[in-house]
Amino acid sequence: MAAPLPDSQPRLAPGCRWATHAEKPVVLYPEGMIRVQGTGQNILELCDGERTIQQIVATLAEKYAASEPDKIMDDVCSFLEGLRNKRIVDY
């Protein structure tokens, strides 16, 4: 299955949710948990099923004052594709 498209609206997959473990944010999913921090956390927090990939990338580009939105787009897409293969994210 392909990477997300610019107008895809990513969200956590069914049965995956935010929680706190050892005072850090984690995403719980059926087989375990992933610790999310830094950029990964910033991306996932924007995945609310409403925002598009384009909007997420624009928000991140602004946040990081980045001059290479194409690079951010690539990174966001491959990050989310990996999580989709684990069935943690849907789009």
Binding site: M1, P14, G15, R17, A19, A22, Y29, P30, R84, K86
Partner: protein, 359 residues
Amino acid sequence: MTPNPLALIAEITHRCPLHCVYCSNPVQMVAKQAELATEEWVRVLQEVSRLGVLHVHLTGGEPAARADLEELIAGARKAGLYTNLITSGLGISETRLPKLVDAGLDHIQLSFQDSRDGPAQWIAGAKGHTYKIVLAEIIRQLPLAFTVNLVVHRQNLDHIEEMIEFIEQLQPERIEIAHTQYYGWALRNREYLVPTPEQLDRCTRAAEDAQTRLAGKTRIDYVVPDYYARYPKACMGGWGRRTLLIDPSGRALPCHAAGVIPDIQFDSVREHSLEHIWQESAAFKMFRGHDWMPEPCKSCDRKEQDFGGCRCQAFLVTGDATATDPVCSLSPDHHLIEIARAAAAAAEQPAWSYRTSVE
């Protein structure tokens, strides 16, 4: 100080409407009158959550055989746990399922015995296949993660491709293709269940094809069975290392089968705190770490990967729970596994023992 556990397997009852020949429940089962009460389970769920446990896997027997399943799920959710229900689907009516989800169920694992009704009934010793299909459709409409478990063995592996295609139609997020593990009832029926090498190769190919074909849609979890592996599985991620199991009567064990090992006293949650059981009890300390290990495990550079394999399997196959897991190709007892494989290859029409009922 031992790190705290991350997962609790809550074996809430041994009652089950099915009689699967591959069941890994102990042959000596706990009767209903000895089961922990609702409030005892709810207290246990709070206690394990305070210990650091994140996931609770509600299993059995058939967990839905307990009338208070909704309350147990609500108790787990209230305690902050991620709640997984491992079920045959029987006992979960179309009206009960939404109540379980409302109570906080995060994930359901629905087992199938086959793609076909007749063979499914033959393996399970009971009807139920058609209802599971109905239930799968309802699950798909509800907001929870959905896994289908398919237990495979010699009697169904000749149509593995058909079974995978059948399960794909149910649209789960995950398919777990699980080779039978030879504990409890399954050990009694081992000679009819161990696959042939040809079946195993075909199954592995089918699983890998499905992984590629379904990437991003359905995740396929597949592990080569330990009877055909070079090295043992890291059973439970190591004895008393990550996971604890509580049986229907409240005994705390490091795994499903540990009760078969003689001369171990397993403490009950009725008498001790979970923290004490995990940190201090002799049972949980017994095979933790490396001190107990014989050669060739003790000097093996894989001891941090597989933790010496499975203690129960060592006992069940060799009669010595401290032996190297005999599935390991380095074990001095490995010929016992080779003999079991040969016996299975020679076995004819199954004359097996169905798992009995417990009331």
